[in-house]
């Protein structure tokens, strides 16, 4: 007996997306990074995290520390994960397109998601050329959009980071920039 439906293709065959979150906590003088790989329907596959403590002193203000530490931290996550994502997703706080191209140098399509704010919906922008329609990255992106999973995985990722770094001064963040 049928109820209204639409058939769902096998999520694993449609590709994987990696959500990256890097947070600078000033009181800890540290960068915390998390990587969550999910399949096309949002199911988690891998979670990797790492931390970097910046040196303190006049040479290293917050902005400098973030710029310097982020690329290596992000690469350490990708070096560790076993799955190869078809698509990378980050918040605008990770850095602008030039920074990402120069320092992260992604080999797969990279998108940035601006959280909804001031009545405007969440916005998805490609850092470089969007993937061609036949690419797995394109399938994954379309499926994530259809399921409302542009921003939501960042909340899961941040919750997991709270769990693995319970001592971090999370309260120093006023708002979750993925909300």
């Amino acid at each position: 007996m049928a109820v209204p439906y639409r058939k769902t293709p096998r999520a694993t065959a449609m590709g994987l997306a990696a959500f990256i979150d890097v947070v600078w906590l000033e009181p800890d003088h540290s960068l915390y990074a998390g990587l969550l790989i999910i399949d096309a329907i949002g199911q988690p596959v891998e979670f990797v995290h790492n931390v970097a403590v910046a040196p303190q002193g006049i040479l290293w203000d917050s902005a400098s520390s973030v710029k310097l530490g982020t690329p290596r931290l992000v690469h350490s996550l990708f070096d560790t994960c076993r799955r190869e994502p078809d698509l990378l997703v980050a918040l605008p706080t990770l850095g602008d397109g030039d920074f990402i191209n120069a320092e992260i140098a992604p080999a797969v399509p990279f998108a940035q998601v601006t959280p909804a704010q001031d009545g405007l919906p969440a916005e998805w922008t490609w850092v470089n050329t969007p993937p061609a329609s036949g690419m797995r990255a394109s399938f994954v992106a379309a499926e994530l959009e259809r399921r409302g999973l542009f921003i939501e995985p960042f909340a899961r990722l941040r919750e997991a980071m709270h769990i693995v770094y319970p001592q971090a001064t999370w309260h120093a963040l006023d708002v979750f920039d993925g909300d």
Binding site: M1, Y5, K7, E46, K67, L68, R72, I104, A105, R156
Partner: protein
């Protein structure tokens, strides 16, 4: 002109590229070692499951090669699960009455992904809700077109209620009544059919051409699956004759006495869609390891430590047939008497009738049958097997309907009683015995005497045999167990009988509470304060004739 800082920054940032030597980062930086957690154990990796153990034995399934902490793995696996709406694939059309807890979402995802799974969560973690949510998603994905839930007859009402709440668009049909009627019901279309174990046994084993075995069910769910632990029993054989594409077994105690219990459940789970042969897994694997690969089990203390430690379940039961007859007779006679009394009827008469009917909801005065007690007995068997102990509250102390009667009926659990009729010394001695002697699995208390001032953290389950309908008083009673020093999550069971005065009062108060809660967060309502005289008369279809 570039400052010294800018030059240092440019050199440092500009020098670093992926793959280049890390030496470009000043040594004063301290980088940690990245840690990886494989999360999707069931489909993606050969990694061990994040949860899975048997009975009360040591949990060894996930002390993995990565050296990760099992509890942390479990917690992460739970919080990283996708929201249910993402899994439906139907543009988020499904709405849920409440958010599922992370470990419950993990349970749903696992059910969705497995053709055969024993969901063996401890009592109180919502096995029913998880299986309904998974079932609902499967219907909406059109992965299934039918489902059969086999459960103890006493919980069919509960399944109906939960299905109505968690999957309201699915049609539900309970198979009951005389054989000819059941034959008709089996053939009627419905998304979900519910049947009791004994009814199923009759319908499958006594009829070679039973409609229940004609077509494979999309999902076949065995609730309280320990009912099939005896492989030679009729119930067990009947369940294993049912063809199904997916088989889920639900029980908090998959292994009660011996490994044979597990073997029978495993045999059910691994039966192929068609045919009678049992699907073979790895013949060299021990029963334990084969079983474990099909089990998802979470413990209350593992998954609820940082969450509200009090879980409340409202249990609706049908009266036993003799109870129903006694109840109907008493209600009809009572109403007739009140009606005949005319203007002389007061609110006291109404409350007396309510009290009388509540007593019958506890026990049939003639046969002593009690559907509430049957359910409590069944739950206690599971809970005590998990090492938990219970407080059972009733407002009645009479030998026929209250605490004393329950103590007699539950004597297998070596209960103690605590009522206001006992001397202070005797009461104190009783409490001491309960705390110190764990062979006493239950303490029966009258709500008035035992509802306040006691510390009974030795028990982690609270049953309300009957309702006081005053949340404050009930919460006080529950706080005997759910208080500082309690090491475990506390499970509360509140009973009411369907199609009785209990259900009518509950419905009225619930409606009022909802209205009040919109305005006053902690509004306390009880029956005499919150229902007007007119409303109390209306419970029996009577009209309040004049001001009393």
């Amino acid at each position: 002109m570039e400052t010294e800082i800018a030059v240092a920054m440019r050199e440092a940032v500009g020098a670093y590229r992926f793959g280049e030597p890390a030496a470009t980062i000043p040594e004063t930086w301290r980088f940690g070692d990245p840690t990886r957690y494989p999360i999707g154990w069931f489909d993606y990796d050969a990694s061990p499951p994040p949860a899975g153990d048997m009975g009360d034995g040591e949990d060894t399934s996930d002390t993995d090669q990565l050296g990760l902490q099992p509890n942390l793995m479990r917690t992460l696996a739970a919080v990283l699960q996708a929201p249910l709406c993402a899994l439906t694939g139907v543009d988020n059309v499904l709405e849920w009455p409440a958010p599922l807890l992370p470990f419950q979402r993990q349970g749903v995802v696992t059910l969705l992904d497995r053709q055969a799974l024993l969901l063996a969560d401890e009592m109180g973690l919502g096995k029913t809700i998880q299986s309904i949510a998974a079932m609902r998603i499967l219907f909406h994905r059109a992965d299934i077109s039918s489902a059969l839930v086999v459960c103890p007859t006493s919980v069919i009402v509960q399944w109906r209620r939960e299905l109505a709440r968690w999957a309201p668009e699915l049609t539900v049909l309970a198979i009951h009544g005389p054989a000819s009627e059941r034959g008709r019901l089996w053939r009627l279309p419905a998304h979900v059919k519910l049947v009791g174990y004994e009814t199923l046994r009759g319908d499958v084993l006594d009829h070679h051409d039973s409609p229940a075995t004609k077509k494979p069910w999309g999902v076949l769910v065995l609730d309280e699956a320990s009912r099939i632990k005896n492989a030679a029993s009729g119930v067990s054989m009947a369940c294993k004759q049912l063809p199904a594409e997916r088989r889920w077994a639900l029980t908090g105690t998959p292994v009660e006495n011996s490994q044979d219990d597990a073997a029978s459940i495993l045999e059910f789970l691994l039966k192929p869609v068609h045919g009678l042969a049992v699907q073979k897994t790895d013949p060299d694997a021990s029963l334990s390891s084969r079983f474990r690969s099909h089990v998802l089990r979470r413990r209350v203390n593992d998954v609820l430590p940082q969450l509200p430690a009090k879980r409340i379940f409202e249990i609706a039961v049908e009266l036993e047939p003799s109870q129903r007859a006694a109840y109907d007779r008493a209600e009809q006679e009572g109403i007739l008497r009140l009606d005949r009394a005319g203007d002389s009827v007061t609110i006291v008469h109404i409350l007396e009738l309510i009290s009388r009917l509540k007593q019958i909801c506890n026990f049939d005065p003639v046969s002593g049958n009690s559907s509430k007690l049957n359910d409590i007995r069944e739950k206690l068997q599971t809970l005590t097997a998990e090492g938990r102990r219970a407080l059972i509250f009733s407002q009645f102390t009479e030998p026929k309907f209250g605490v004393a009667r329950v103590a007699e009926e539950l004597k297998d659990f070596h209960p103690l009683t605590y009522t206001g009729q006992m001397t202070a010394g005797k009461r104190s001695e009783t409490l001491e015995r309960f705390v110190r002697d764990k062979t006493h699995k239950a303490l029966l208390l009258s709500l008035r005497a035992g509802g306040q001032g006691l510390n009974l953290q030795a028990a982690s389950c609270v049953f309300h045999l009957d309702r006081w309908w005053n949340p404050a008083i009930e919460e006080q009673a529950e706080s005997r167990s759910h208080r500082l020093g309690q090491q475990s999550a506390v499970t509360i069971y509140r009973y009411l009988c369907v199609n009785t005065i209990e259900e009518r009062i509950d419905a009225k108060l619930r409606k009022k509470r909802e209205i009040f809660q919109e305005f006053v967060d902690d509004e306390r309502l009880d029956i005499t304060r919150s229902l007007t005289e007119t409303e109390l008369f209306d419970l029996f279809g009577l009209t309040k004739r004049r001001s009393r």
